[in-house]
């Protein structure tokens, strides 16, 4: 047991719990739109919280543990493909954009499934997206916990199960009770920690080693291929570019990020967040990933790269300082998992339970049920993490790619193209996801030498076009809701809404 490392980590967990308590008290004071408060923090985020919650939710165990590990064994090529997450904050917020933010207020959208349900009005689309979100996000959360806990176990000497349960219980408590606000504010704290950690690691390690010269000499001796392209990672140009699809363009539809595009206060907040986000992400990405190479100085022959950076930090730094830095990967993991728990909980309560089981669920009961659902999801993830799967980064990439293929075309095309309809969306989801799985698992030729997400998305897009032209166009009401002004929507509701009883609008019945 290394207490000098453990104590800063305990202090860090204490701060997280305090944020949870504070958010829970804020939440208790709100009596109107409690569900919106729980899942979106009342759409009130300013730029500072917005940018950090977005980046912290996007940066995960991959950025700190899996990533440096891959660079350790695969070289600079892995930094090259990871750099594609730099534009993500800007692209995500501008592509879903103000239209998404305005629509979410007009139509009272809380989850991306709300969007899909009102846009396509078809249970197949709703269920495909809900089930996909629950399965893929749970799959994604498990290796996050496992990876983080393994590292902590190695550096602190505390038992795996004890660590996992403590660490997960803290996430569970503040997320279940504090809701989105606790999630966003703890993300901000965690994001700052990552940013500072990214800078400190550079300075400390390079100062200790005396610049990159010695690193380069060591790497040249050990494995000069780490400097080259395609290198051990096999990065051909088409492979490199297809990473940009996954980490840059399509990242925005991941449900835990897309809800952040509904949650900001005004145009000013989103403008500032978009302007600053890429710079912060550049520092975080370069800071930690490049250290995978530096680690060769201290750890010449590790079997699995995941421990390269943590062990190096232990060698170079006094325990207390290392303990503070280890809070950064912990923060990356917690900030991703907390937002995912909330998304999965929202899908279960709002998109499945309220829509198909109990349409008259009250706002108050919905918010309360949210707490229970979040806690349950967290407990299931812990259960899975106690029996950990084998390799970290590939599982993560598989889950993320699968969700992106499933959701990108229906969301983005549905947002901007009027002709897009339910048949197109359903075909795109089923066809794209099937192609992705088949290409990934059985027929690698289907990927054309790229990440499977590239051809799968092309297939999804083609099927969306096909279905949209074959099937009937969206109903007039849908067009008014998604393209009309508020006055047009109100007029339509006044004439047809009274007769139809608002039954088409699941989000508004109260």
């Amino acid at each position: 047991m290394r207490w000098a490392i453990i104590i800063p980590l305990i202090a860090y967990l204490g701060v997280m719990l305090a944020i949870g308590v504070w958010s829970y008290q804020r939440r208790l004071q709100v009596t109107e739109d409690e569900t919106g408060q729980y899942y979106l923090g009342g759409r009130s985020l300013g730029w500072f919280v917005l940018v950090f919650t977005l980046l912290a939710s996007a940066a995960s165990a991959g950025t700190f543990i899996g990533g440096p590990g891959l660079v350790y064994s695969g070289g600079y090529g892995w930094v090259l493909v990871s750099i594609f997450q730099v534009p993500t904050a800007f692209v995500a917020l501008a592509l879903l954009g103000k239209k998404f933010a305005i629509l979410s207020r007009k139509l009272d959208l809380v989850t991306i499934t709300d969007f899909l349900r009102q846009r396509y009005e078809h249970p197949a689309v709703v269920i495909a997206s809900s089930v996909g979100v629950v399965l893929f996000l749970v799959a994604y959360m498990v290796p996050q916990f496992v990876g983080g806990t393994r590292v902590l176990q190695a550096v602190t000497g505390v038992d795996y199960n004890v660590l996992l349960i403590t660490f997960a219980a803290v996430v569970l408590l503040y997320t279940s009770f504090g809701g989105f606000l606790a999630d966003a504010i703890s993300d901000t704290f965690q994001g700052i920690l990552m940013l500072v950690g990214g800078l400190v690691v550079w300075i400390v390690l390079l100062a200790a080693i005396g610049g990159l010269g010695p690193v380069n000499r060591t790497v040249t001796e050990v494995n000069p291929a780490l400097f080259t392209l395609p290198g051990p990672g096999g990065f051909t140009p088409q492979m490199i570019a297809s990473y940009s699809l996954q980490l840059g363009l399509m990242f925005c539809v991941l449900p835990h990020l897309a809800v952040r595009a509904m949650s900001y206060k005004d145009s000013k907040a989103v403008h500032r967040a978009m302007a600053i986000g890429p710079a912060i992400m550049a520092v975080i990405t370069l800071g930690f990933l490049c250290m995978g190479l530096v680690a060769h100085m201290y750890q010449p022959d590790l079997e699995v790269g995941d421990m390269a950076l943590p062990l190096t930090l232990l060698d170079v730094l006094p325990d207390g300082v290392a303990g503070v830095l280890f809070a950064a990967p912990l923060a990356a993991i917690m900030s991703t998992v907390d937002s995912m728990i909330l998304v999965v909980s929202g899908v279960i309560v709002r998109d499945l339970y309220k829509t198909y089981v109990k349409p008259d669920l009250s706002d108050h009961a919905g918010a309360r049920l949210g707490t229970i659902a979040s806690a349950t999801v967290g407990i299931i993830v812990i259960g899975l993490a106690l029996k950990p799967p084998a390799y970290l980064e590939y599982l993560i990439i598989y889950a993320i790619g699968g969700l992106e293929v499933l959701l990108f075309v229906p969301i983005v095309a549905g947002l901007y193209w009027r002709r897009g309809n339910a048949l197109g969306a359903a075909l795109a989801m089923v066809g794209g996801a099937s192609w992705y799985v088949v290409a990934n698992e059985w027929v690698p030729d289907l990927t054309l030498g790229m990440f499977p997400i590239a051809t799968a998305s092309a297939v999804a897009f083609a099927l969306y076009l096909l279905g949209s032209y074959i099937g009937p166009p969206p109903r007039h009401e849908v067009l008014v809701k998604f393209w009309g002004s508020q006055r047009a929507i109100d007029d339509m509701l006044a004439t047809s809404g009274a007769a139809r009883g608002g039954g088409w609008d699941g989000g508004r019945t109260q």
Binding site: D33, P87, L95, A413
Partner: protein, 108 residues
């Protein structure tokens, strides 16, 4: 891509004027992403692809292809959104009816 605004349906309702601007901003996002992807991939390919390790040149301790395509490009591109936003993005109210002063709590 999917961003093209089509008008194949005859429109008989008042459209929300803010969406026009939102479409434009979404196109900027795609353009920016495309430019970043092409520059990073292109520079890496041009400067470093298929070069054996002993032929690589180094800049400030990094392989030259990495220095230019990753470090320099990402820092330059990290600064570009601020310019795009100042020149081409508009500050529009996000309230339901597009009025600047939201009703208390944003809803009735």
């Amino acid at each position: 891509m999917s961003i093209a605004t089509r008008r194949d349906d005859d429109v008989d309702f008042e459209e929300d004027p803010r969406y026009e601007q939102a479409n434009r901003e979404a196109r900027w996002a795609i353009g920016y992403w495309l430019a970043f992807t092409v520059v990073v991939t292109g520079l890496a390919w041009w400067l470093g692809y298929d070069k054996p390790a002993d032929e690589l040149s180094f800049v400030l301790g990094f392989p030259a292809w990495f220095f230019w395509s990753v470090l320099v490009t990402s820092l330059v591109f990290a600064a570009i959104p601020a310019w795009i936003i100042r020149r081409h993005f508009k500050d529009v109210p996000l309230t339901k009816d597009g009025r600047h002063v939201p009703t208390p709590e944003g809803r009735q």
